[in-house]
C-alpha cells in the first residue's frame, strides 16, 4: 500500500475523468459546443507531456552529476512516455481540428510548437540509437535533452506572440481562458491532469523495471 497507492489513485482519477468528463453538464459555447470535452482528453495530454519532460530533465541532470545508469533509465523512459503523450495529443487535436476548423493542420502556433517539440525528441531518440557505448550514450543524450529543453521553453512563449492562435481562449475565440473557464470544468480538468500524468509515470516506471531486468539478464549471460 505504501508504494502503490498512487497507481490506485491514477485509476480512480482516470475513471472519474472518463465518466464525469463525458457526462457532466458543460457550458454551451459557440463553435465548441460538446467538443469542449476535449479539454479533459486532449489538453491534458500537453500538461502531462510537459510535466514528464521536466521529470526527464531532472533525472538527466542527476545522471550528469552522479554518472549512474539508473537515472538515465528514468530519464529516457520518461521522455519516451512524453513522446507518446505528445503523439496522442497531436492526433486527437488533429481530429478535433478537422471538424472544428475544417482542416487537419493549420498554421497555429500551438500546433507548430508541439510539432517542433516532437521533432526535437525524435532526434533525441535517433541520437541515442547512434551511440553504442552505454555510458557515453547516457551522458551525451542527457546533455542533448537538457539543451533541447532549454531551447524548447522559449519557443512555447515566443510562438504564440508571433501570430494569434486559433485555439479556444486565444485571440478572441470563445473558450476556456482564465475568465470563462467554468468552475464545473475545473473540477474535472485538474484531476484529469493529475490522473493522466500519474498514468504516464506508471507506464514509465514499468518500462524502467523491464529495462533493468533486461540488463540484469544480459549481465548474467555475459558472466556465465
Amino acid at each position: 500500500m505504501k508504494t502503490y497507492w498512487w497507481k490506485i489513485l491514477a485509476i480512480l482519477l482516470l475513471a472519474y475523468t472518463i465518466v464525469a468528463g463525458l457526462l457532466i453538464e458543460v457550458p454551451r459555447l459557440p463553435i465548441l459546443n460538446e467538443t469542449i470535452r476535449a479539454l479533459f482528453f486532449h489538453v491534458t495530454m500537453w500538461f502531462g507531456m510537459l510535466l514528464m519532460l521536466m521529470v526527464s530533465v531532472y533525472y538527466g541532470v542527476k545522471h550528469l552529476r552522479t554518472g549512474e545508469l539508473r537515472y538515465d533509465d528514468l530519464a529516457v523512459e520518461f521522455t519516451n512516455t512524453a513522446i507518446l503523450f505528445g503523439v496522442v495529443g497531436i492526433s486527437t487535436g488533429m481530429i478535433w481540428a478537422k471538424f472544428t476548423w475544417g482542416d487537419y493542420w493549420t498554421n497555429d502556433p500551438k500546433l507548430n510548437a508541439s510539432a517542433i517539440g516532437l521533432l526535437m525528441y525524435f532526434a533525441y531518440l535517433v541520437l541515442r540509437n547512434s551511440l553504442t557505448d552505454v555510458y557515453q550514450r547516457a551522458k551525451i543524450s542527457a546533455v542533448y535533452s537538457i539543451f533541447a529543453f532549454a531551447a524548447f521553453i522559449p519557443l512555447i512563449f515566443i510562438l504564440p506572440r508571433l501570430t494569434d492562435s486559433l485555439h479556444p481562449g486565444n485571440g478572441g475565440n470563445p473558450g476556456f481562458n482564465a475568465y470563462d473557464m467554468d468552475s464545473k470544468l475545473r473540477t474535472v480538468f485538474y484531476p484529469a491532469i493529475i490522473g493522466w500524468t500519474l498514468l504516464g509515470a506508471w507506464i514509465s516506471t514499468l518500462r524502467v523495471r523491464y529495462r533493468r531486468l533486461e540488463r540484469k539478464l544480459e549481465d548474467h549471460l555475459i558472466n556465465q
Binding site: 517542433i116 521533432l119 551525451i140 546533455v143 542533448y144 522559449p154 515566443i158
Partner: protein
C-alpha cells in the same frame, strides 16, 4: 581565462588559414546555393516578393552555417583533442569555438547578403537594423550549432545527425531573426522591433549559457 580564449580563437583562425580549402569551400557553397536558388526561381531583379526574399535568404544562411559549423569538432583528430583537453579548460574551448564560429557565420551571412542583393536586388530599407539582426542571428546560430556539433561529433553518422539535432533547436532563433529582418526590409519604425530584438538576445543568452554549463560534461567523456 580571457587570455586563453583569445589564444584559442587565434589558433582556430590560423588553422583555418593554413587549410584554406575548408573556408573557401564554404564560401563557394553560399555563392553557388544562392545562384541555384536564383536560377530555379527564374526571377530577375525585384521580381521576388519581400517575404520570399527574406525566407529564402535565411534558409540559405541556415544551411550554410550548419555546414560551416559542423566540422568544428571533427576536423581535429583525437590525439590533438586530448592535447587541448590537458592544456585548456572546457569553458575556454566552448567559448572560443563559439566566438570563432560567430565570426565565420557572420562572414557567411555578409557574403550571402552581398551576393543575394546582387542577383535578387536589395529591398532592405533599414540597413543598420538588418545588419544588427544578422549579427544577433549569427551569434545565436553559432552558439547552438557549436554545441550540437560537439554532440554530433561524439556519434557516428555525423551529417544527418547534425541536421536533425540542430534544426529544431534553431527554429526559435530563426523565427525571431526572420521577423526582425522582415521589419527591417519594410523599414518599419524601430520601436516595434525592440521587444523582438530583446527576445532574440534572451534566446541567445539561454542557448549560450546552457551550452557553457553542459559542455564540460561532454568534453570529459
Amino acid at each position: 581565462m580571457w587570455k586563453e580564449i583569445i589564444l584559442l580563437v587565434k589558433k582556430e583562425a590560423v588553422l583555418e588559414w593554413r587549410q584554406k580549402y575548408a573556408i573557401n569551400g564554404i564560401l563557394l557553397y553560399v555563392v553557388s546555393t544562392i545562384f541555384v536558388a536564383y536560377l530555379s526561381m527564374g526571377a530577375g531583379k525585384g521580381n521576388l516578393g519581400v517575404p520570399v526574399w527574406n525566407a529564402l535568404y535565411w534558409i540559405i544562411i541556415l544551411f550554410s552555417s550548419v555546414n560551416a559549423v559542423a566540422k568544428s569538432f571533427v576536423q581535429e583528430h583525437q590525439g590533438r583533442q586530448l592535447y587541448y583537453y590537458m592544456i585548456a579548460s572546457p569553458e575556454a574551448i566552448i567559448l572560443s569555438k563559439t566566438i570563432y564560429n560567430t565570426l565565420l557565420t557572420l562572414v557567411l551571412a555578409l557574403l550571402g547578403y552581398l551576393v543575394f542583393g546582387l542577383v535578387f536586388g536589395n529591398p532592405v530599407a533599414d540597413q543598420p537594423l538588418f545588419l544588427l539582426n544578422l549579427l544577433l542571428g549569427a551569434i545565436g546560430f553559432s552558439a547552438s550549432l557549436t554545441m550540437v556539433s560537439a554532440i554530433a561529433s561524439k556519434a557516428s553518422n555525423n551529417g544527418t545527425l547534425m541536421a536533425i539535432l540542430s534544426f529544431p533547436v534553431l527554429i526559435p532563433i530563426l523565427l525571431m531573426a526572420i521577423q526582425v529582418s522582415k521589419n527591417a526590409i519594410d523599414g518599419l519604425d524601430r520601436e516595434i522591433n525592440l521587444d523582438k530584438i530583446l527576445t532574440l538576445l534572451a534566446i541567445n543568452a539561454i542557448v549560450a549559457v546552457s551550452s557553457y554549463i553542459l559542455f564540460p560534461y561532454l568534453w570529459r567523456s
